[in-house]
């Protein structure tokens, strides 16, 4: 049994303590916006925020996140208003297949919290998520667009 606080709501879930946070979120909590891509923290499709930090949830056991605030892509928009990253994603028409984009957006949202005006080098260093469709041009454009908004 683990207690997880996801998007502000506490859930008691009947999982083994070594269950990756990703699968607890997807299968026990039922939020499927966070994606499985590799299971070894390589691709970033599973990125969520744990106490505000971008974390690859496929490789983090639920036992490590008790008492922490977890935000998933479903919790990024607050009060029905899209996060500026999500809005920039729509404005730049970023997603193609879209499967990696939840993780991409979560990684970018955390980056902008840390560095409100990231340089291209900051983006290269931080955004290591894999997109097989190759949306990287639009990702970069949308990051700068989001950063330009207060």
């Amino acid at each position: 049994m683990a207690r997880l606080t996801i998007n502000g709501t506490a859930h008691d879930v009947d999982v083994a303590p070594d269950t990756p946070l990703l699968w607890a979120i997807r299968e026990w909590i039922g939020l499927t916006g966070t994606k499985y891509g590799c299971g070894i923290a390589q691709c970033g499709a599973c990125t969520v925020h744990v106490d505000g930090e971008a974390i690859r949830s496929c490789s983090l056991p639920v036992s490590a996140v008790a008492d922490k605030q977890i935000v998933t892509i479903e919790g990024l928009a607050v009060g029905g208003t899209l996060n500026k990253v999500q809005q920039a994603w729509i404005d730049s028409d970023v997603p193609q297949c879209g499967y990696c984009q939840s993780g991409m957006i979560m990684a970018v949202a955390a980056l902008l919290k840390d560095k409100p005006k990231p340089t291209d080098a900051d983006i290269d260093d931080t955004i290591t998520n894999i997109c097989r469709c190759g949306t990287y041009h639009q990702v970069r454009e949308a990051i700068h667009a989001a950063a330009s908004k207060a």
């Binding site: 083994a16 299968e27 193609q96 297949c97 879209g98």
Partner: protein, 733 residues
């Protein structure tokens, strides 16, 4: 028509609702992934139905337009492009459009009114543009007729624009929604005229994708996300050696593990654990003792495959794909010859969404939910795997988390059904681990190529012999399609004629032939398919030939391309744009490539630098395409940039090696791909010359690798002929 699942478009208010239904679930009365608000969703679903004007278009009384899209959407943007084509002729209000996928079962029951569902070979728009435009034009004609009937005026006096029908002489107007019900009762006209391209208002204009909003809030339901009541989850492991079988497994060792329900054989080569949750199934499967009978291929290695294929390079027997003059004879007497051997490795598609499917089987019905590139083939696969008639089967098509060709074949769907058959009545969702996805792929085929070019005393190219040796995709996936044993597909982009892919050089003596050598690793269509290696072989060798006679690679090509003006036009376009006649920036070097395939003409110029220690940076790509007509330039730009990400991932890192008969790479740590830090600037030139419909999703990938390789040669003087680059020293000194 409430069996058709609505897709996304979408006011922000409704998109959660509409996309929740993308799996076809609520048409069937299931509860779908989003908790709460089920009654609201059902109410909204009921409103989706409205008069079907034609098989392609439903128009509701409030003027909402629902367009049926039958090609699969996997990120390539075909959904939006096809809707542009239809809306161009329908003359409807773009802001009122939503989309839905007819199911393969509906298509079968209705006599396939929408044509083929197959979505590969860059066919979405190029193959269905006419049927889709006619679907829109037919509906418009009927709507106008219905309005004219009400007004008792000749339809020729009426016109439609923006979902409004106007009777010009009287100035009366009505809307599509008001006459749709009457229009739906009319007999569709047999022949409708399509607009002259010069009158297009939507086609050729950049349009935003229709499926974006749910993808940025985590609301898009992919196949892997589907939930059905009572569903169980399955994780599978197949014999790592292709052709091997399961000898035994010891289910007792994992019974009683948390969540585990059942351990089942899957065909004769795999075992699955079925559990309440997928993570539990995977955890148990990892602990399940399985013994394999690896069969005859347990000793195969990458080296043994390469040796086997190499025997084809000089074999006397080969299938001739393109021949003119006497290439071998001319080469034998030539003043000067140049020879090179290239090799191309196995590669995995590595879609971001691993293979998965949900299946529910009962004695008289089998229904699946799947991300497929070919709904028709998926339905056939369901019938075959379930043993039921196609009429008893159904496929609910989901948006794909990437396809790239992998999802045109349905081995994973067969597995899901094999499991579901052993637990009748219970929906089973099978998800592959990434490791399974990497090691049980259907791979880009491996080939080698020996090229010999001959010059006369004036350094004129008189002859080219291109001997391809290696694997045939068709021999594995569709042996019935072979022509007297020959795989014509091997010669993609090298054909003498046809609209698929024409060899773009005039060489008096030419021989392109193929010695088929089929290793045991299953090959498949992989974005670009055989064009990928063919373009590398040909375009890098053309570069070699140019350098062998001290000529500029562009000038050398131009001389040979006089009879191929469309090939030449895109090559000239990139050369002009990049400024080929002027020096590149300090330390930066350029390479060119051109190719034709899937009906489109493409060319690229790459600008790269290579550090003294051999580190490569691709700075800029200039790419041009002539697809005949360009439907959505915004998506074409994105597809072209993406094709370079996919193609350069393959060139830099893409390699699946074989040891003990099995694929060695298991995940993205050993099968690396391009990330944002390595993404070059891609400048796109769209040059639609009109009069034909070429593809977009694939063609520019052909020129990604050869353009960069030729630029690397320009930078280093080192000709790389074996891939990926991670295994090569770019500088030899």
């Amino acid at each position: 028509m409430n069996h058709i699942a609505p897709n996304s478009r979408l006011t922000r208010r409704s998109f959660l609702v509409a996309t929740a239904a993308a799996g076809g679930g609520f048409a069937l009365g299931f509860d779908l992934p989003f908790g709460g608000a089920a009654p609201a969703r059902a109410a909204e679903a009921a409103q989706v139905s409205g008069p079907e004007v034609t098989a392609w278009v439903v128009i509701k009384p409030d003027d909402a337009v629902i367009v049926r899209v039958v090609r699969s959407e996997m990120g390539q943007g075909t959904m939006t492009g096809l809707v542009q084509l239809l809306a161009e002729e329908l003359e409807c209000d773009w802001s009122k459009i939503s989309t839905e996928f007819p199911t393969p079962g509906q298509s079968l029951a209705r006599g396939k009114p929408w044509g083929r569902m197959f979505t590969a070979g860059s066919r979405g728009i190029r193959e269905s543009n006419e049927i889709v435009r006619k679907g829109g034009a037919t509906a418009r004609t009927m709507l106008i007729q219905a309005a004219a009937d009400v007004w008792k005026v000749p339809p020729a006096e009426c016109s439609a624009a923006n979902s409004v029908i106007t009777h010009k002489p009287s100035g009366r107007t009505t809307t599509f929604g008001k006459v749709a019900a009457a229009a739906s009762k009319l007999t569709p006209p047999k022949d409708v005229a399509l607009k002259d391209p010069k009158d297009w208002k939507l086609i050729g204009k950049p349009a935003k994708r229709l499926d974006t909003p749910p993808k940025v809030v985590g609301a898009q339901v992919y196949s892997i996300d589907l939930k059905l009541p009572g569903m169980l989850l399955a994780c599978v492991k197949a014999c790592p050696v292709f052709g091997g079988k399961v000898k035994s497994f010891d289910a007792a060792k994992i019974t009683g593990m948390k969540g585990v329900k059942q351990v089942v054989p899957v065909g004769d080569n795999a075992v699955a654990v079925v559990a309440e949750h997928w993570w539990e199934a995977k955890t148990a499967l990892d602990k399940l003792p399985i013994e394999w009978d690896v069969g005859a291929n347990g000793h195969v290695t990458t080296a043994s495959i390469a040796e086997f294929i190499k025997t084809g390079l000089d074999a006397s027997e080969a299938f001739v794909g393109n021949e003119s003059g006497d290439a071998k004879g001319t080469i034998a007497k030539a003043a000067k010859t140049v020879e090179a051997v290239y090799a191309y490795p196995y590669q995995n598609h590595a879609t971001m969404e691993p293979m998965n499917a949900t299946a529910r089987f009962t004695a008289d019905r089998c229904e699946v939910w799947a991300a497929t590139q070919d709904g028709d083939a998926a339905l056939a696969a369901v019938a075959e795997a379930s043993g039921l008639k196609p009429e008893q089967c159904e496929v609910n098509k989901m948006l794909l988390g990437g396809g790239f060709g992998r999802r045109t074949t349905h081995d994973w769907l067969h597995q899901a059904i094999a499991i579901a058959k052993q637990i009748p009545g219970t929906p089973i969702k099978l998800i592959w681990t990434r490791e399974e996805d990497m090691t049980q792929g259907r791979y880009h085929p491996t080939t080698q190529c020996k090229l010999v070019g001959a010059f006369d005393a004036n350094n004129e190219l008189t002859s080219l012999h291109m001997r391809i040796a290696g694997q045939s995709i068709l021999a594995y996936v569709a042996p019935a399609v072979l022509k007297n044993g020959m795989d014509p597909f091997v010669f993609q982009g090298l054909n003498a004629k046809g609209d698929e892919g024409v060899f773009g050089y005039g060489i008096p003596n030419l021989l392109i032939d193929h010695a088929m050598r089929n290793p045991h690793v299953p090959p498949h269509f992989w974005r670009g398919v055989n064009n990928n290696q063919n373009a590398i072989y040909l375009e890098c060798f053309m570069d070699e030939l140019a350098h062998a006679v001290g000529q500029d690679p562009l000038a050398f090509r131009r001389k040979l391309m006089a009879n191929y003006p469309k090939h030449l036009a895109v090559l000239n376009a990139v050369a002009d744009h990049v400024g080929w006649d002027k020096p590149a920036p300090q330390g930066v070097f350029r390479g060119l490539a051109q190719h034709m395939g899937y009906g489109s003409y493409v060319a690229a110029c790459a600008e790269v630098s290579v550090t003294p220690k051999g580190a490569l940076k691709v700075h800029r790509i200039v790419a041009a395409t002539d697809p005949g007509y360009a439907v959505n330039p915004a998506q074409i730009e994105r597809q072209i940039a993406g094709s370079f990400v996919y193609g350069l991932s393959a060139l830099l890192y893409g390699e699946c090696t074989v040891k003990d008969g099995a694929i060695e790479q298991t995940n993205f740590d050993s099968y690396n791909v391009l990330r944002i830090d390595e993404m070059p600037k891609v400048e796109v030139i769209i040059k639609p010359s009109g009069g034909f419909w070429g593809g977009v999703g694939e063609p520019t990938i052909f020129v990604a690798a050869p353009a960069v390789l030729n630029a690397i040669f320009a930078a280093t003087g080192n000709r790389i002929r074996s891939f990926p680059l991670k295994n090569q020293k770019l500088r030899t000194v």
